[in-house]
């Protein structure tokens, strides 16, 4: 019987603070890919006789462990894996794919060629990320590197537009990713378990995105009750976690602090009146409850609330007023079933979202978009089926219903490739008041199996029905994986993808169809040693049905484009070392109207290099990161025209995206120190961006009549310090 049991290799992701030189006690939990506790797993310490066995909740305790020790997990039905002992008592996640035989120890293979996953410890170790999950994302190959957020709700992946990729938290989209000005993400790193980055070729379970996926998983509460408080430049936060009967909880909240300081540090002679100083709140919670040995329940929520109001005049003249408020809360409940080879998941998620914007006497925008999403997914595995081996089948359905209430009076929205319009506070070209209902339905199925010991395939189909436009997208996707030699695997994937035309004012036009893309990705995965991984990828993406503005000013699906490039990603996670090498070459072109000129995408970035390293020694951790990236394309102003009737100057633009901001480079460093004060573990960190104060030009902006141009420069240096207490 034992021989029948497959042995799976797992990675142990010990989320830890800073290692102490003294032996310590490690608590943790072992779960399968569906979050189900693995009972009876054996945990041993390399070079030691100490062992532990997980209980019914998958939990274990190991005492007298040296920080940085390697742990090995072995369980029937699973395989052995390696991990590193850290100091905190966070979960150990046995993170594997249900039906793949993973011969290379250390980590599960990436979900797709070029994909990567970071756990909380790695997210916090990345220098220059300021303990911010979305800042860490900028180190991924294929993610456009830019000092400012590229749209408040998106990430640019492989040269596409921000709205073409999705960021999911616990499998569901969030409407906003950043607090004001991209200062912070709406979810703190402490409340995250993992960040998974899939730049392309993603699974049929993911949809409504034509480029890439970023998937964040909230942190499950630990069995041991604990609290932590953290403060850094700009914010304060708290997190509590623990367990109750058959369950665990995690709850976290954060508030900006900069609004409390700003009134005291702004120069008194500034011609500015802040009536609501920019401030934000965010909060998260997650509760996991084990109903039986087959059923687990989960509820999680994330919310955010940003507000600001100012007058660009000390006299508070109404025409100089600017106010903005953006808030949302998403609540998700899910039931997970796991009985041998059968798994199932049912999830319901609702979101309430509200955004208001007012500027001066004329311009305003009010958008409310409550939505309800229901998703069901089932899976079945089999050792053999029709001559195939290690077979896994999945199928799922999803519905998303959204009711948008819009009250808009704003200038014409800037689309991809369009230069910014002349700033006219009276311009309300884009007017709409009414409601828009959208209903999207999706179904998918996928089969994954091994043909022999070296070849494995995955084939699937996703169908998205965008009911408002009567548009149905059939999206076949598949991947072939060849194990060339024991530690070298070749993968090739192809698939079709779509994004509904629901971005900003696209909502107003019911006839717009979804944008489409076809992706072809190939590459090699080499794992020369445990904890060391090297991926090289090539990709080509063809984009059609791109939503563009026609000569008459209306939107249509007339655009097309393509992207190609290569990426290299090397990671090292061994003992006290964490290393990161990411380089991406990319070229993205598009044509907005048939017969029109081909031009660069707004976010085309040919070169992007990130090299980072972090080393832990005793109570200290030292890290550094070097970045080098091409500047983004710009459309220059070549002339201007004075309109006497409106008393405004209008720019005359040159060829779209025909010049580029200079290449920028910077070095970031990070130092962490851990100590104890009674029962409280204290972690202090200092993160400094651009330590050699490189003068980086991010882009250009023009004076009121476009006869003068100046460079928009990045901050010469940006230090962030913080302290966290855990007990």
């Amino acid at each position: 019987m034992v021989a029948r049991l497959r042995r799976w290799v797992a990675v142990i992701l010990l989320v830890a603070g800073v290692a102490d030189a003294d032996p310590m006690t490690v608590h943790g939990r072992v779960v399968d890919p569906h979050g189900k506790p693995v009972r009876g797993a054996s945990i041993s310490v390399e070079g030691s006789t100490r062992t532990a066995t997980t209980d019914a909740q998958g939990r274990y305790t190991l005492a007298g462990i040296e920080p940085g020790s390697s742990l090995v997990v072995i369980a029937d039905g699973f395989g052995a894996g390696l991990g590193t002992a850290g100091e905190t008592s966070d979960d150990i996640v046995l993170d594997i794919q249900a039906t793949e035989t993973i011969e290379v120890k250390g980590e599960r293979p990436p979900q797709a060629q070029g994909a990567a996953m970071l756990d909380r410890e790695q997210l916090e170790r990345m220098p220059g990320a300021r303990n911010d999950v979305m800042q860490t994302l900028s180190a991924m190959p294929g993610v456009a590197s830019y000092p400012l957020p590229l749209g408040s709700s998106g990430v640019v992946i492989r040269g596409a537009s921000p709205q073409d990729s999705k960021v999911l938290i616990d499998d569901f989209e969030v409407p906003l990713l950043y607090h004001y000005l991209g200062f912070r993400s709406v979810v703190p790193t402490d409340a995250i378990d993992t960040l998974e980055y899939i730049p392309g070729g993603f699974d049929v379970a993911y949809g409504r995105a034509s480029s890439g996926i970023v998937s964040l998983t909230t942190r499950a509460g630990d069995a041991k009750r604990g609290q932590q408080f953290e403060t850094s430049v700009g914010e304060v936060g708290a997190l509590a976690q623990g367990s109750f009967h058959n369950g665990h909880y995690m709850i976290a909240a954060r508030r900006s602090a900069i609004d409390l300081l700003l009134p005291y540090v702004l120069p008194s002679d500034m011609d500015l009146a802040l009536t609501t100083v920019p401030r934000y709140y965010d909060g998260q919670f997650r509760v996991d409850y084990t109903l039986s040995n087959k059923w687990t329940l989960r509820a999680s929520s994330i919310g955010s609330d940003d507000a600001m109001e100012l007058y660009a005049s000390r006299d508070k003249n109404a025409d100089k007023r600017f106010s903005n408020r953006a808030r949302f809360v998403r609540l998700t409940t899910s039931a997970h079933y796991h009985d041998g080879p059968v798994t199932a998941k049912l999830a319901i998620s609702g979101i309430a979202e509200d955004q208001t914007f007012e500027r001066g006497l004329y311009q305003h925008m009010g958008v409310s978009s409550p939505a309800l999403t229901m998703r069901a997914e089932v899976g079945r595995t089999a050792k053999t089926w029709l001559g195939l081996q290690d077979v896994a089948w999945r199928a799922g359905v999803e519905t998303v219903a959204t009711h948008h209430s819009l009250d808009v009076a704003i200038p014409r929205e800037r689309r991809e490739g369009e230069p910014p319009a002349t700033d006219d506070p009276m311009d309300v070209t884009q007017r709409y008041t009414g409601t828009v209902d959208t209903s999207n339905y999706a179904g998918w199925t996928a089969l994954s199996a091994a043909l022999d010991e070296r070849v494995r395939f995955t084939t699937g189909l996703r169908v998205d029905a965008y009911a408002r436009a009567g548009d149905v997208a059939f999206q076949p996707r598949g991947e072939l994986s060849f194990k060339l030699v024991p530690r070298l695997t070749a993968r090739i994937a192809a698939g079709a993808y779509s994004r509904p035309a629901e971005f900003q004012t696209e909502l107003i036009d019911a006839n717009l169809r979804a944008e489409r893309s076809q992706q072809l990705i190939g590459g090699l995965l080499y794992e020369p040693a445990d904890g060391v991984r090297l991926q090289g990828s090539l990709y080509y993406t063809k984009r059609t049905n791109l939503v563009t503005r026609g000569m008459d000013g209306t939107l249509g699906n007339d655009g097309r484009g393509s992207s190609y490039g290569g990426e290299l990603l090397g990671t090292v996670q061994r003992g006290p070392w964490f290393g990161w090498l990411a380089y991406a070459y990319s070229h993205s072109m598009r044509v907005d109207l048939p017969g029109g000129m081909q031009r660069l995408f707004d976010y085309d970035q040919p070169h992007n290099l990130n090299v980072a390293g972090s080393y832990r020694i005793g109570r200290w951790q030292f890290g550094a990161r070097f970045r080098l990236a091409s500047g983004l394309p710009q459309t220059p102003v070549v002339d201007s025209l004075y309109d006497s009737d409106s008393n405004l100057y209008y720019p005359v633009y040159g060829a779209v995206n025909s010049e580029r901001a200079p290449m920028h480079h910077q070095l970031d460093i990070r130092i962490d120190r851990t100590s104890h004060w009674g029962p409280v573990k204290i972690t202090q960190f200092l993160d400094v961006q651009n330590v050699y104060m490189n003068d980086t030009v991010v882009g250009y902006y023009y004076g009121f009549d476009y006869t003068q141009r100046a460079a928009f420069r990045m901050l010469p240096i940006l230090p962030t310090a913080g302290i966290r207490g855990e007990f």
Partner: protein, 234 residues
């Protein structure tokens, strides 16, 4: 913390001229006198030009031409070193209304394009030029707006202005900020609320104490009035 904020502000602030800064090469305003012409009426076309190294002056454009409607391309012509706008007779106006799809009796918007080479006053060798458009309503008569209730530092201004260099110098003209456009511009001191009917001037360290003050008023019917004063702070 304060140095960090100042650092951030410094990073975003460049040497771009403020819109109220008079020492800047540009067309500040364009005026026809009168701005609305009955059939057969005539108006002169003038612009107020600003220079980075010289006082602002009123001058005629180097070139002017009708942009729209095409049927009235002969309505703008040079005359004695200036440019004149001539409203055609009623039959030509009726044809223009038909061309533009306007109802009978509606004023016909005559859009004029004009250009000037820089620097002042003749065409430059580097081909640098400035261009503008101006709409004149034909078929009805009207005047440029008057500058009413005008006060500088609390008193009606004379031909030259002498203001205190300390404190705020209030500038006031009667105007509706929601329907009219007011611009106060200066080459001396620092202007505050330059685009409101009630603005004020201060003299900060490093500011020029001598220069010009300009007031430009646009009404909702295309009327434009400006006034230029020599200014000195004592």
């Amino acid at each position: 913390m304060r140095w960090l904020v100042l650092l951030a502000l410094a990073a975003c602030t460049q040497d771009l001229d403020e819109q109220w800064q008079l020492r800047h090469d540009r067309i500040i305003a364009v005026r026809t006198d009168p701005p609305r012409l009955a059939a057969g009426g005539q108006a002169s076309l003038t612009m107020l030009a600003g220079y980075s190294d010289a006082p602002a002056v009123e001058r005629a454009p180097d070139l002017a031409a009708v942009v729209s409607p095409k049927s009235m391309s002969g309505s703008v012509a040079p005359f004695g070193g200036a440019w004149m706008v001539t409203a055609p007779d009623e039959s030509a106006l009726a044809a223009a209304r038909s061309e533009l799809g306007l109802p009978d009796g509606a004023p016909v918007p005559l859009q004029i394009g004009l250009a000037s080479a820089w620097p002042h006053p003749v065409a430059s060798t580097d081909e640098q030029h400035f261009a503008a458009v101006k709409t004149v309503l034909l078929g009805e008569s009207g005047d440029n707006p008057p500058l009413e209730g005008l006060t500088i530092n609390g008193a009606p201004p004379g031909d030259e202005l002498v203001v205190p260099r300390t404190g705020q110098v209030p500038l006031y003209v009667e105007a509706n900020d929601e329907t009219q456009i007011v611009n106060w511009l200066t080459s001396a001191g620092t202007m505050h609320d330059f685009d409101l009917h009630a603005a004020y001037l201060t003299f900060e360290e490093g500011d020029a104490l001598e220069g010009q003050l300009v007031l430009v008023l646009h009404d909702e019917l295309g009327g434009v009035t400006w006034r230029v004063w020599p200014l000195r702070a004592e």
